[in-house]
Subunit: 118 residues, 2 copies
């Protein structure tokens, strides 16, 4: 299900995160489907369970999965995932607006720039 590339310079947990993101976004893993357990997957990949745990924690932080103690990790609903990402983006936008105002660029200026992008 998940394949690691040990020659890849990227950290193992990051590779795991990206693989699962892909599987979820492409619909291979369906809503509420159970992910392999931390231990199983770690054994299968011959790495430490904590590395998988770190990957799952990150996936949860980004809204891709949810985790239930003692039961397992599960694919989050598409709605929740998108809602999560939307909030993240809105936060980023707010920070950007603050910075922009610091150099005398108003929200209107930003909207004007966005309009040109269309």
């Amino acid at each position: 299900m998940i394949i690691l590339d040990l020659k890849d310079a990227r950290p193992l947990y990051e590779q795991v995160v990206d693989r699962f993101k892909h599987l979820i976004l492409c619909g291979v893993l369906q809503e509420d489907e159970k992910l392999p357990s931390v231990r199983n997957l770690a054994m299968e990949l011959s790495i430490n369970p904590n590395t998988i745990q770190k990957a799952f924690t990150e996936l949860e932080r980004e809204g891709f999965i949810y985790s239930v103690k003692g039961r397992g990790n599960f694919v989050a609903s598409n709605g929740i995932l998108i809602e999560h990402k939307k909030k993240e983006l809105e936060q980023q936008i707010e920070e950007l607006v603050k910075e922009a105002e610091g150099i005398g660029m108003s929200i209107e200026d930003i909207i004007e720039f966005l309009t040109k992008l269309k």
Copy 2:
């Protein structure tokens, strides 16, 4: 002119960068005014010249100052500074838009969100 806080966890060069940013943005340092030399300031603060050099390189990268080999570092014109920051922001906005489109959020949606911020 510049004061360091050795108890501060932040790196020395970063403290120097922030101090100068403040001095420039508040107009204490005027356009084309010469900054203290790398060696002088280093001696005054009892740190290594390379640390000041690193701070100045960062300030130049962000458009706050410009540097002339053999002559010194000088405060950039306000216009250039703002232009520089504006381009940086616009780049960030473009990246944000791409991400937003990835989750089905259009430029119009972003504009709507911005409008509510006003």
